[in-house]
Symmetry: D2
């Protein structure tokens, strides 16, 4: 049941608050409905050059400190904070979308040993939220402000929130019609807020795995030992036939770096560590370049005060960076929709993208014989979210596999995922799913 993973206070409120009741009843309803109505699921075998056999493959990841990722992270933090507050006070998640917002770059003067922020970064939190519900006033703006600041503090520890950033909020209330759609789901199932779609694929290619792994290693391990590596790390992976090139742009933090020699040493270290990680995932030839725009003679290197290029005039927006699988993969089908910040109840741009990735992974894990799988879920505005207009899987089977069995299993996984679609909501607000 939806409420289970949440705290007990919800069980209390369930009796009084209509929305949670709706959500709590959802699966039962869903089951009933599925007995009556067949879902439109299409599984098709495709015939195409597998990704690993193509000549050229490009993969990019913007690290958590990149301005676009900061915008994504703030948007999602705000949505999560609102969701928790709505559940706490209103017994269910109310309408909101904070999938917008802008990080406007500041100005700094980095210096070995520690420079200074001259002009603060400006962050504009934008979106819509329900501010009054059933007699309860929800302090949506104050919640958003706190969530954004907390997120920045966690993500950029070297950013002094007292002097280096202005966080501003301009949140409206949603359009009446959309809220109608949302609250009129008395029949038990959230309805799609839009005619839109989500896409996902699995498994990751070697290059995708490498780019993601190097980024994770930096975030989880390397930065702890070497805080000089700022959180704004952009990794571009290019596979040209059997040769993989990683180009890493890493914002070095000045206070942890005594001079140009240490800077250069750190670049070398990063290149070496990245190479090692990469080689765990491939037998192809790998080359790593770090901060290629540096001009050491002119002492023009990628040194920062805060570890993010947002400090130096680089702007960022929600939805302009990684897709919800953490990567940008122009060789794969992608959704343009921002996953971060959208409400996790009925916003297709969020739910179906997360679902598509989750289902693709599950298929690869549970079903033998899949070389590649591409999932697409298409909604129609007003339809129950568990009954997409179409759920489509495109499968590239391994040579010699029984396609009919594969397809049957896949269809079953899709069917079950749709029945259980509200688990996406739950995982999102519990922070179990990343959105960028």
């Amino acid at each position: 049941m939806f409420g289970d993973p949440l705290d007990n206070s919800i069980k209390e409120t369930v009796k009084f608050c209509p929305l949670l009741v709706i959500l709590a009843n959802r699966i039962a309803d869903g089951r009933t409905m599925s007995a009556k109505k067949k879902r439109n699921i299409s599984v098709e075998t495709i015939n195409q050059t597998p990704i690993e056999s193509r000549e050229i493959e490009l993969v990019e990841r913007k690290g958590i400190g990149h301005p676009d990722s900061l915008a994504d992270g703030i948007a999602e933090a705000v949505s999560k904070a609102l969701s928790h507050e709505y559940v706490k006070y209103c017994g269910g998640i109310l309408h909101h979308n904070t999938d917008q917002g802008e990080v406007v770059g500041g100005e700094t003067i980095p210096a070995y040993g520690g420079g200074k922020v001259i002009k603060p970064i400006y962050v504009l939190v934008v979106g819509r939220a329900t501010k009054h519900f059933n007699g309860v006033d929800v302090p949506a703006d104050a919640i958003a402000l706190r969530a954004a600041r907390d997120y920045l503090r966690d993500t950029l520890p070297r950013l002094d929130l007292e002097s280096d950033v202005v966080v501003d909020v301009r949140m409206g209330v949603g359009s009446t019609d959309l809220r109608d759609v949302f609250t009129s789901c008395g029949s038990g199932v959230p309805r799609a807020n839009d005619t839109s779609f989500g896409v996902g694929h699995a498994p990751f290619s070697e290059t995708e795995t490498i780019v993601k792994s190097v980024s994770d290693y930096l975030d989880d391990t390397l930065r702890r030992e070497h805080p000089v590596f700022g959180p704004d790390v952009k990794i571009m992976g290019l596979r040209n036939s059997d040769s993989i090139t990683l180009t890493i742009a890493c914002a070095m933090i000045d206070r942890y770096c005594e001079g140009i020699q240490e800077y250069l040493d750190m670049k070398t270290l990063l290149a070496e560590e990245a190479l090692q990680i990469a080689q765990k995932h491939t037998k192809r030839k790998v080359q790593v370049f770090v901060n290629t725009a540096d001009n050491v003679d002119k002492e023009s290197v990628y040194l920062t005060v805060t570890g993010s290029s947002a400090e130096m005039g680089d702007d960022g927006s929600v939805g302009r960076g990684n897709r919800c699988n953490g990567l940008i993969t122009p060789g794969r089908p992608m959704s343009i929709e921002a996953t971060s910040g959208k409400n996790p109840i009925n916003h297709i741009g969020k739910i179906y993208n997360l679902l598509a990735n989750q289902v693709a992974q599950e298929c690869v894990e549970k079903v033998d014989g899949i070389d590649e799988i591409y999932l697409r879920f298409l909604s129609q505005i007003g339809r129950p979210v568990d009954y997409p207009l179409v759920a489509s899987a495109q499968v590239l089977p391994k040579p010699g596999m029984r396609v009919d069995i594969i397809n049957y299993d896949i269809e079953k996984i899709i069917e079950e995922s749709l029945e259980n679609i509200t688990s996406i909501t739950r995982k999102v607000i519990n922070g179990e799913l990343k959105t960028f």
Copy 2:
């Protein structure tokens, strides 16, 4: 030559201003260079299910009045205005990027015959621009403000710029390093500002053609006769095997609509017209739905004061809408980069995306035997823009075609396009290329 299509004053300034000299000398340089150095061009034949043979295809277009498109259009208008001013006063296009910015939705009360704007839309123009060059002060903020307002006036004729919108500007100056890269190109060729890529494909599928054609017909013809159809038209095309469904969300303008009956009549008209356009491009079965979220009983319909959902709390950002071919095509390779607002000299996210689309189209027009072609250009920061790290074409040949000949012709087209890459810049600032 670059300067030709521009006014004569440039020829004057060419003598004094280094940047234009650079640009003017570019092709000659390029030729010399290409004699010396071979470009890394890869043309590969791929084997995949052609788009028309796949079960499911999704295509979306956000019309010019959609909040995301407004953000794109403003960003590009600002870049164009800055480029013209730079050329006029400094003899060349100086560093700038205005590929950010936010449209924060307002609040209106639509009413048949004419409603009112309650809370103005808020537009934040963000970016970086060169404000001082060679002793000349460039009024970048004032130029940006005017360009943004002019664009809004042209695009949303029913938006009263005196009361319905606040346009704010927070433009910084670029990071020093990036400007180094840009102005140090004394050797004659702009250098890539980033390690990034552009993608494009051709030809359009039936569904793609239909979605684009319906949108164009609305903008070019139908709205002139029936101003009730606002510029914010979102078209979602779904092809499910041989059945195509168009879902159109069109913001109707209240002052041109007397009542619910006229509103319904207009929906019917739009559906009929869209169907006719669609049928010109396909023999498949087509269905059209308009404003499916309407609830006529509750009188909750898609009526607006200004013709854009930005009036009612819908926010928009640069780069969140259409790709530079005018569509969102999750089944095709796509770039996540915003094309609009980037500087048209050396910003890969703009130039290579526009180039990839242009080359793909040119290949299909000039080379027989191509079923589908996908172009990718990858830069490395600091490399001359006409020497991408790799230019890659993936070709799906028509059955029975001589692949070697096709590939030779394609390579030649790519080669020539790269030699002539600055024509992209020229076309952009002359408004010959659309970016969304």
Copy 3:
């Protein structure tokens, strides 16, 4: 009756809208009340050195284009526009206060013959307004935006509103308690919004008259012939015994000035014209200095693009400039309250200041024998505005006058003014009273 000077539509709405009824019934009620209750009016004779006999007298006026005056003018324009809208749609003036707001200076590069605005002025319109009343939505933000822009256009004709200024709006709704006070006046009389006071004096001293007259002559006559004299003219009058010095700082407009010689000629002209005006009002010796901070050798003179120092970084706020008699007179009692922008129904800081000046003038005009008179009205929050806690007049009689008769006449004028206090409201919204 209050409603008379307004349009007929009000008489219609009077039947349905409680507030206008209240206002319409006001005088009758007032009369009834005054029959029952005596007003607390104190008229006292004071013994002090008359202003003209003091050694030193300082008088200042900030012209209509001064940043503080711009802020005042915008605030009052917004209040007036809201008042008209409230009357039109709701039958009475609803609660609002827009007596705040900031003009943040821009950046320009003036040049003889015409310079340019580099960075737009930023205007923040702040305040509170009723946005919903009796089922009617009042587009307060849109009204405020338009009113502010219209005011700027009228006042600074050389300011290009498309590129030279950003007008932003952050209007809230009033505090609940204050609105209670305002709307609960069912007994027929608006009640004071605050414990506050207003002050005024009459007649003007010679120096006061001169400063005001020179400013008026510039605005009404001289600028029409010589548009080079921008609207931002600050006049400081110092009387040192029998010698009067006028120091005028006048923002010259560059496009109307060919070069330094014309600039200097214009300074001379202004000094001569001001001298002539001054000499009409005094027999004392008068000296005039214009733009004393100019350094002609360094070509550093007071040249502007728009005619206001707001273009060059000078900020302005509501209530920081002239008092409601158009002057700043540190030798006279003054109110610190901003008169501009406050609601003209029950805001003491507006009504009592305007009233005090009007009554002082009326006394001087109608009662013989007054050398100087100072009026003070003190409210207590919640009391009817026509029953101040105390209305106090301090009179400096001419030598040999019958004080008792003077005082009787003055008391009568005060009494009648209070009975008729709503005429202040009417005059304000009809634009008959200046507030700065």
Copy 4:
């Protein structure tokens, strides 16, 4: 000497930084100059009804948590922080003026025991500052942001800076001409930035003393024991002949108040304590009213979450509250200029107002026989600040005193104060002088 009270690092920098040299040499220069040039000092005896003998006297004070006082305090905190930074890095105080800025009210829902902030307060810090000097970049915006936030934290301990307030900064650089005036003072004395004046009086009347004392007692003593009394306390004192009425509006803090009864008890307590303080300073009859706008039946009382009415939509601006003696006294000469936030070197609106008050007090303390004294200092733009155009004292002597002796002593005090005028600067940046 100027540098003495500051830290040793200044003595170091003195050698290298021209401005401090200027300042350090100032007194010597001043002395030399005064040997050559006589100051224009006028002391005149006036004949007027002493303040205590007038029928009506009004005195007001806005407590430190009042929105206008918050704006003042922030402006002054920013100026102080900039001054310290300038001294530290540049060896002298550079040009700046931060005497503008706006506090835009938020929205709260107070509740006994603790309510919540719904919409954050918005604070706009505005002004001009020198950002580059002699090769040093001064992080003026970051300094301003931190100073404003620190000030808010200290002043409103119940305001959560993470969620309840947005502090934004829009600081420009000053106009070139003004900076000329400021830095061209190579001859050793800061020159007046403007033609302006400062005024002050002494001693305080009974009512003035009472209003100030009650406010101080609240801030220094009562609030420590009873944190329920928020820092936003507005005190209005009215003396009507021999009867004094204090009307106190005190923002009670909800978390320190259990219910309506405690609220009412606290009102009573405050009234009693204020009465006791008042009676220490007068033998006149005193009445105290607290929160007169309360409507207990409707449970509409002056309860707040943060202790400032800024939380509920009340806006505030710099310079709209107390004069630099801490009071608003419409019966006394007042300056309209904001003292807070102006640069303490050459801004007349700050220095001369502080000086006038200081000199007035000193005269009363050191010279026998003064009943009332009023000081006025008038500058002319470009003149050395220690040579005002005129320094004027108006004295109301006690009956029977030798006026010539009094006047001689006063002139001497004025003379010495002007010689030592830079001590004002030093005291301001050391926080020894209050500005509101």
